[in-house]
């Protein structure tokens, strides 16, 4: 390439363009997109009404009428998976929202102030990390009762220290930079600097973490509902479907295959998107992950 062909002002490739050039990101986005689409379509339409139990149609293998077969109550598996996608996504998304909404301000505040507040936050993080998240989610749902809302809270609480830690570490690396000094010289307050300069600069990091926590949230929700502490019937959930499938696995193994594949595809898609974003943020590290 000759110098003449370079643009006059060196334009940095935009984040989005770099992302779209990443094959792993695109593949992940497509997978995740399919699941999101299923969940969205289920809001207005599913192939069958799963609240109507048709016992005559129970445990059918995949056919043209029921693409993925039916369960022990005659419910259409494809419809259940579409509705289950909604449950999974809603639980994991709100749990990530809790983590970002509380964790990021905490972490950013600790980084801006330092000292005792920072130390206190780190000790609080140690405390929360000492509780194996699923164990505590089980304890929380055991105390406050099983259900989707309590599952969200239980998963969300453990997202708080994760985002606090990432936000703090990210912010600490930005604070010593010169443009922050310039902003300070211009008389901006810590809060304004955080909002205008720190947060935009750590948004990518947070996005990577959000995709990871989203994926972990999907897995946690599936685990909780598998053991009966997550979304309660009749609300369909992938974990619950796997629990039901286990009892009839001898005669209908496919019932255990489809919900599991749905969980795996969603988590895989989210993780791949996270990897793609991380690569785009730090091109030098590409191939290290």
């Amino acid at each position: 390439m000759s110098f003449a062909s370079l643009p006059a002002t060196p334009a940095r490739p935009t984040g989005l363009r770099r992302l779209l050039a990443s094959r792993i990101f695109v593949a992940g986005a497509v997978l995740t997109g399919i699941v999101l689409l299923m969940a969205a379509v289920s809001l207005v339409w599913t192939p069958y009404d799963i609240t109507r139990l048709v016992v005559a149609d129970r445990i059918q293998s995949p056919s043209s009428a029921h693409w993925l077969g039916t369960d022990h109550l005659g419910r259409d598996i494809l419809s259940m998976i579409m509705l289950g996608a909604r449950t999974s996504i809603a639980v994991a998304l709100v749990a990530v929202g809790i983590g970002v909404g509380i964790g990021v301000p905490l972490g950013a505040y600790a980084a801006a102030r330092g000292g005792l507040i920072d130390e206190a936050l780190m000790r609080f993080n140690d405390l929360v990390f000492a509780f194996p998240s699923l164990v505590s989610a089980i304890m929380i749902t055991a105390i406050f009762g099983p259900g989707a809302v309590n599952a969200i809270i239980a998963i969300g609480i453990f997202n708080i220290p994760v985002f606090a830690r990432v936000a703090r570490a990210g912010a600490l690396s930005i604070w010593p930079r010169e443009f922050i000094l310039a902003a300070r010289a211009a008389g901006k307050s810590d809060i304004r600097i955080t909002a205008e300069h720190i947060l935009p600069n750590i948004a990518g990091l947070l996005l990577v973490q959000a995709s990871i926590q989203f994926a972990l949230g999907i897995l946690a929700e599936a685990g909780l509902s598998y053991v009966g502490l997550g979304a309660q019937p009749p609300m369909p959930s992938w974990g619950r479907m796997l629990y039901d499938a286990q009892t009839v696995m001898l005669v209908a193994p496919w019932l255990a295959v489809f919900p599991g594949t749905a969980i795996m595809a969603t988590v895989l898609g989210l993780n791949m998107m996270g990897d793609g974003i991380a690569d785009a943020l730090d091109p030098k590290a590409r191939g290290r992950r």
């Binding site: 000790r123 000492a130 164990v135 089980i138 304890m139 105390i143 895989l268």
Partner: protein
């Protein structure tokens, strides 16, 4: 070194004390009176009051907490409401299943993942790297209880090599007991191994790009001795960190996977206790797991000092 150790131990203890307060406080908000729960619906108010007095439930919360925490130190967790035996006895029985299970799967995942990660790093950018990291992606995305179901279908239902669930007890002999634990251990190991392999690979790639590796090669060391003398030691730090973090995931994973295989471990115990509202048992198991996590993280912190001589200095 001493200061570093001292600080770590102190933080560990402080976290443990705080965690015990959290666990204690949480169980206080549970609706229902344990004394009434133990005596059943037909008990009179007087009987309930007598039992409350016996159980120390009428004392101020601070005293109740100190009493409970003091008991923990003597490994006295109290008595189970429903089983009417010492919780420590119950937990001890169940640990005989859960602990070997966790250790076997930790061993399995380490044995598979570290060599795989190192291999992928050595073939960076080649097909073998892409294939092994692709497999790791899939391993991370598979819920372990689903993987467990698939394993049961293939190895227990189809090939009939191992039992589909249940546990004969160690008294039935080591081999039958191990046979009952092998599928759960593999199911638990998969996601752990996937994460560990990724971390090992990226740590190795990072280390191999360092100047001191080039220097070591330049002064004539063979690739093999560079790997053993310089690279591995530096790879160990992130790997140890992940191993420590995974222990917590492993314990949590045991709880669900034990339910898939109907193994009489801590996980089953917790679920039975939850359904019977036997909160002393829930409280004790959670506390035990938290203590285990804190202890393992402490050991990881201490092992940093062994691996990384810089930490033995003034920090």
């Amino acid at each position: 070194m001493t200061a570093y150790l001292f600080k770590r131990v102190l933080f560990g203890l402080a976290t443990l004390v705080l965690a015990s307060m959290v666990v204690f406080a949480m169980l206080q908000v549970v609706p229902g009176d344990p004394a009434r729960l133990m005596l059943g619906m037909n008990a009179t108010e007087d009987q309930v009051q007598v039992l409350r007095e016996q159980m120390g439930l009428n004392q101020p919360l601070v005293l109740q907490y100190l009493d409970w925490a003091g008991g923990l130190l003597r490994l006295d967790f109290g008595r189970s409401y429903t089983y009417s035996v010492e919780v420590s006895e119950l937990v001890g029985e169940r640990l005989a299943v859960s602990l070997p299970l966790a250790l076997i799967s930790l061993g399995l995942s380490t044995l598979v993942a570290i060599p795989l990660g190192l291999y992928a790093a050595s073939r960076r950018g080649k097909t073998a790297d892409a294939v092994s990291m692709g497999a790791a992606q899939i391993g991370m995305a598979m819920p372990n209880f689903w993987f467990a179901l698939l394993l049961i279908y293939v190895f227990a239902v189809w090939l009939r090599l191992v039992p589909a669930g249940g546990f004969p007890g160690w008294s039935a002999g080591v081999w039958p007991a191990l046979k009952a634990l092998i599928l759960p251990a593999v199911a638990l190991a998969l996601p752990q191994a996937a994460i560990l392999a990724r971390v090992t690979r990226s740590a190795m790639v990072e280390v191999l790009g360092q100047d001191y590796i080039r220097t070591a090669r330049a002064k004539g060391m063979t690739a093999r001795s560079v790997l053993w003398r310089h690279a591995l030691r530096n790879v160990l730090i992130p790997v140890l960190t992940i191993l420590g973090m995974q222990f917590a995931f492993l314990l949590a994973g045991t709880i669900i996977v034990e339910n898939v295989f109907y193994l009489p471990g801590l996980g089953r115990l917790v679920f039975q206790a939850i359904s019977q509202r036997d909160l002393v048992v829930v409280q004790s198991v959670v506390m035990l797991l938290v203590a285990a996590v804190i202890l393992v993280n402490l050991l990881v912190d201490l092992s940093y000092a062994l691996v990384d001589p810089r930490l033995r200095g003034n920090r």
